[in-house]
Symmetry: C2
Subunit: 342 residues, 2 copies
DNA sequence: AAAGCCTCCGAAAACCTTTTCGGAACGCCG
DNA sequence: CGGCGTTCCGAAAAGGTTTTCGGAGGCTTT
């Protein structure tokens, strides 16, 4: 029963070795270890002991070669550096890892050539499916190569509506943010957004404007587009206070922008949340908890998005492929910047 | 020459198909595609065309089964959420991806059971090697299972000195930080560190104290240990200014702590860098560039650490295994918090 | 006692590629 | 014209596992 630790360089034990040690054929050994019928309990026991003794671990390559399925998937991301791929990747890894799937990770660095190269490599390894994670929510061209396995696009949808894409609900996020501010009793809401070039920024604006209208309010000032950085938040907040001194809530395009806005409000002597409520998007922990007061933010549930993508891919493997764009709900995480901390 | 896009569900073309189309045997087709000798130019051409027409992609499983090497490695991390695994993972992915290696990503979530399970799965897939990425620089127990492939520990060294570990040079980082401050003409340097429970914090202190002594100076006040958060930086800076008002440089245990210190300095009316220089560690982009002024920090070169780990593993595959702990140099990235911006 | 059924096990094929080795065709030299 | 070297190609084995199918033996039934 003692497992002999395989010495470095020693060939790993094969099923043949196990069968020989147990005094049976490889066929019987296979059936015994896989819980198949037509094996007596005694034999099964002997085989199990032999396998344990040899620290036998079945060769997945041989198994995959035979079965036509490898139990592997490719996770193709465009920028690992980015904050958004990571939680998605975690969720996917989580959903797969719980089962019997292993994940190949590839980073294309935003380069189409490299992406094609990686896809080729993954197909050559006979992955059962692919998840393509984008770096922004803007649609991306579908994979160039002819792929004969299911593909799910996550975060960035595919430009081809026939593909299956899973994306965060930025419009809903904008809506939920405003609804929270309204629920807090705010009526003079301004919106300092992020980089207009990103659909994430525009979609959040769309949702928030709709919710403001539905609440019978109107936006204070115009939507201020800029960048995603703290510096923009600081500058935009300064201009906002100059023009609209009676603002009582600022919705910010991202947590970083919100950090900048908080800085300026503090310097101008506005109390948060008493005088002005502030909200961000993304719920980036280091931004929200480091802020004074802690920042209320809309969490895009990216990890759940990754899990959804993994589940969708799982279903598509073997069964028929889903189509179209699906969105994942987001949620408001309330902290001290909108509701005074008890 | 036109590649027929493989329809969904269609069996991928095999070498046999290519050989049949080209009118040769599989052996010849294999040799032709792999650039082996003993194939005429005309035949090679015919085979190449047949392969292109069928969009043939050799089955890596079959190849790996035969060769005994799969061209895959396992990347085992303990917490993907953490900021430190990611750049390492990127570096490794980078170094491998350039070659013919593919990377299996596994996140053990800090759970030993899950880790063992993942190691088993990876071994069953016959990876050629493993990189184990820790979540802190504190030593970690070596892999439990008997592993017959090379293993390289990255970031967190293995407790077993016989293993090969690659870690950041935190002592050197502390030293370099102080040397930079001294070079900037600072003489009254304080150190607000991070969580004392982490060897990263203690090592940085060790290095900085040594450098201060070498410069003929002495530390202003005591080393202040606390946490890694902004709030700690704010609080500690307040106490520091109360007790040591003539301090002219604050070395901080992390960029987050430094952000907090900067906030307090600003509120107390100290100018940075004119009155007080501030430095952090880790060079976390969102922390350094969002700060006012931008934060000088020591970059631990984690991506390079990942690349080193990948290279070391690559060398260990096939050749003899290295041993012991190797460190990766860090570097100071100078920004406005220590040198006034032009 | 013969026939039939059930239980268990083993031989062999299949998956796909690479490599080795033997064989065939051809040109050249004696 | 025979022998030999060169060049090219194909048959076959190997790698490890799973599945199918046939067969052997034991037990029950008539």
């Amino acid at each position: 029963m003692a497992r002999t630790p395989a010495p470095r360089g020693a060939r790993a034990a094969t099923l043949t070795d196990v069968a020989r040690l147990a005094g049976v054929s490889v066929a019987t050994a296979s059936k015994a270890l896989n819980g198949r019928n037509h094996v007596s309990a005694a034999t099964r026991q002997r085989v199990a002991e032999a396998a344990a003794q040899l620290a036998f671990s079945p060769n997945s390559l041989a198994r995959g070669l035979l079965a036509g399925r490898t139990g592997t998937v490719g996770l193709l991301t465009s920028d690992l550096v980015g904050r958004f791929s990571l939680p998605i990747l975690m969720g996917a890894e989580d959903a797969f890892g719980a089962g019997e799937m292993s994940v190949f990770l590839c980073d294309a660095r935003g380069d189409a050539i490299r992406e094609r190269h990686h896809v080729q490599a993954l197909l050559s390894r006979r992955v059962d499916g692919l998840i393509v994670v984008g770096s922004s929510t803007d649609p991306r061209p579908p994979l160039a190569a002819a792929v004969d396995v299911p593909v799910v696009y996550a975060y960035a949808p595919s430009e081809d509506p026939e593909d299956l894409s899973i994306v965060p609900d930025n419009v809903g996020a904008g809506r939920m943010a405003v609804e929270h501010l309204v629920a807090c009793g705010r009526t003079r809401i301004a919106h300092i957004s992020g980089d207009r070039g990103y659909s994430a920024a525009r979609d959040r604006v769309t949702g928030s404007l709709a919710a403001i209208e539905e609440a019978g309010l109107s936006l204070v000032g115009d939507v201020a587009y800029g960048s995603w950085e703290e510096g923009w938040g600081r500058a935009a907040a300064g201009m906002l206070l100059d023009r609209e001194p009676d603002v009582d809530a600022v919705l910010c395009g991202s947590d970083q922008v919100a950090r900048g806005v908080l800085d300026t409000l503090r310097e101008r002597g506005r109390r948060v949340p008493e005088d002005v409520a502030v909200m961000g998007f993304d719920d980036w922990e280091v931004m929200t908890t480091g802020a004074r007061p802690k920042l209320t933010s809309v969490d895009m549930n990216l990890e759940e998005l990754g899990r959804s993508a993994a589940r969708a891919l799982f279903e598509a493997i073997g069964a028929e492929h889903g189509r179209g764009v699906r969105t994942v709900q987001c949620r408001v995480v309330v902290r001290g910047s909108t509701v005074a901390e008890g």
